[in-house]
Amino acid sequence: MIVLVGLNHKTAPLAVRERLFAGCQGEVNLLAELLVIDGVREILHLSTCNRVELVASVDETSAAVEAIKSFLAKYGSLSNDEAASCLYGYRDDEAIKHLFRVTSSLDSLVMGEAQILGQVKDAYRQALALNATGIALNRLMHRAFRTAKRVRTETGIAANPVSVSFAAVELAKKIFGTLFGKKILIIGAGEMAELTCTHLIGNGAEDIIVANRSLAQAELLAEKYHGRAIGLPALDEALCDADIVISSTGAPSYIVTQDMVRHCLRKRKNRLLFLVDIAVPRDIDPAADSIENVYLYNIDNLQDIVDENVKNRRREALKAEEIIKEEVAQYANWLKELKAVPTIVSLRGKAEGIVSAELEKARNWMGNLENTDREKVEALVNSIVNKILHAPVAVMKEESVEFNSKDIVAAARQLFRLDD
């Protein structure tokens, strides 16, 4: 049975998550200690800033979930109330589904973000290194990665940017094609402007000009991006040079007027100009947008795009849920089949034992046969045994998927005297 116990950003406040995160991180032998718990066969520990979760393969008892819960409560120093309200415990299909949703980034704070897959992979790698996983979890994790990949390629859940800075980068690409060799002008300084600038550089933009009322501050930022600093009086000239302008000053009135843009456009021979105004109040005169070949986006325009993309992701998430449903069913079937596996293995083992013993007995008279004939006899015997075993094996597998296979497995063990 697969179980999943833990807490995430939806069930636990940051303070609780922090405590549990720190408690689990501090413990080197966490997995080893968990494996000691009665009934726990395999275990994996996933810990990110938004969640701490333990995935385990356990014996068919309900005690394991409670044991793991109290284990977590102890490590996170959670009070009884906190443990009751923050910790969740899923079993069987619910647990598998939750893990697949987490890995596919459906359960993330920013739905569709790519980091979580890497974090789950790291967690699995750690568990593998400590030999904490076995047949059930290995298969489960591979299925989870497969599901995440399917969700990523078959749905548009990660297709469009859901942050303002990435939305600006995407727009820049739609205007300029490639951003290689493009010049960026940053007016003022601000976290968002810097973030956008970093993303633009990450996509190939090279030349950075930083304009600020205080030249000293401009120089500070310019140094960071290996660009050059200018004062506001030199803004006109810089506008003629730049392809992308990001403005975020605290100025009360427009810093870039329509006339400035019109004038610079003539000088730059109408080369396309992308203006991003993320300041409130605005820095760039909205009338500049009416000029040909100028594309002016303010913070609201960018936010609208982001909102639209978030809506799209939610729509795509519905498709993703379908994929997850399919994958959960497949894994759950496999897991059920697994219950019959030990019996099938011993049945086959017994049959093979009989075959080799009988062939050994017949070795004397078979010695008179040609090599090829002897091989044919051996193949014949094996084929007969396989044919006889085929039906009981298939029925045990089917029964274990459709019903609880306990009865039929017990019958098989008795009929073939597998426990003798």
Binding site: E170, K174, I175, G177, N270, D289
Partner: protein, 274 residues
């Protein structure tokens, strides 16, 4: 026309129809992968058309059997060739949604022509005519491409200006790439058409003894040549770019189309094979 030639032509036509459908579907369902596939199908179509034309050239001696069908096919082939060539340089797969239907129309028109009717009178046939025709066709094909890029630029520009790029904006090529194709089309199309027209004029001077035969096609072509010349001048000397260029290219193309249709159906001209 041999049966092998016909087979190649039919294959080319089928590929082109498939590619057109694929491109338009790609616009409809907003999936770029369809446009990518269609580009390969179009390339296949261009290859079949190449075989068809080569066989046609091999089977005829000089211009003897060249008729409207061949000219229209060569038009289609040139447009496809230039478009596909550009695909190595830019990611403008979706431009095919505008180009492929034009190629398809040329091929359908070609299919409707009497295949072996010779429309260039034997006494006119010669290397100067070939020079004139090949360059004029190449020049016009480049203008078609420039205008298609211009039309797509206007759509993308509209989406970006209205702050609603959405799925369509994401699908269409970037403004810079489209503007570059428009630039390239004018830059190369104009000199080619100029040379082609000079070739025609020199030929006319030899045969008819005057550079300026009062032929409607010639007069219209000259007018269009002037329009495109004006566009190129504005682009290179004045620095017009982007949306204004795009809009004017579309207008010039409509004029070009109109003139071609009017001349074809309303006037008698020595250029009656196009």
């Amino acid at each position: 026309m041999t049966s092998l030639e016909i087979s190649f032509f039919v294959l080319a036509l089928t590929c082109c129809a498939l590619a057109t459908t694929g491109y338009l579907l790609s616009l409809l369902v907003k999936k770029i992968v369809l446009a990518k596939g269609s580009t390969w199908i179009l390339a296949g179509g261009a290859l079949f058309l190449t075989f068809n034309l080569l066989l046609g050239a091999a089977n005829s001696s000089g211009w003897v059997n060249f008729g409207s069908r061949h000219f229209l096919s060569i038009y289609a082939w040139t447009i496809a060739g230039i478009y596909l060539g550009l695909q190595f340089k830019t990611k403008t797969r979706l431009l095919g949604a505008f180009i492929a239907p034009i190629i398809l129309l040329f091929l359908i028109a070609a299919a409707g022509q009497e295949s072996d009717k010779n429309l260039v009178p034997p006494q006119w046939q010669g290397w100067l005519t070939t020079f004139h025709l090949v360059l004029a066709i190449a020049g016009e094909a480049l203008f078609v491409l420039a205008s298609a890029a211009g039309a797509m630029f206007m759509i993308q520009n509209n989406l970006l200006k209205n702050k609603k790029p959405g799925k369509m904006g994401r699908l269409l090529p970037s403004l810079s790439d489209l503007d570059w194709i428009n630039h390239l089309g004018l830059l190369w199309g104009f000199p080619l058409l100029t040379l082609g027209m000079i070739g025609g004029a020199v030929y006319a001077a030899f045969v008819w003894g005057g550079f300026w035969p009062a032929d409607p096609k010639v007069i219209w072509s000259f007018a269009i040549w002037m329009v495109y010349g004006f566009l190129l001048h504005q682009r290179l000397a004045i620095g017009w770019k982007g949306s204004r260029m795009a809009a004017l290219s579309c207008l010039a193309f409509l004029l070009f189309l109109l003139s071609a249709l009017v001349i074809r159906y309303c006037f008698s001209t020595v250029h009656n094979f196009i």
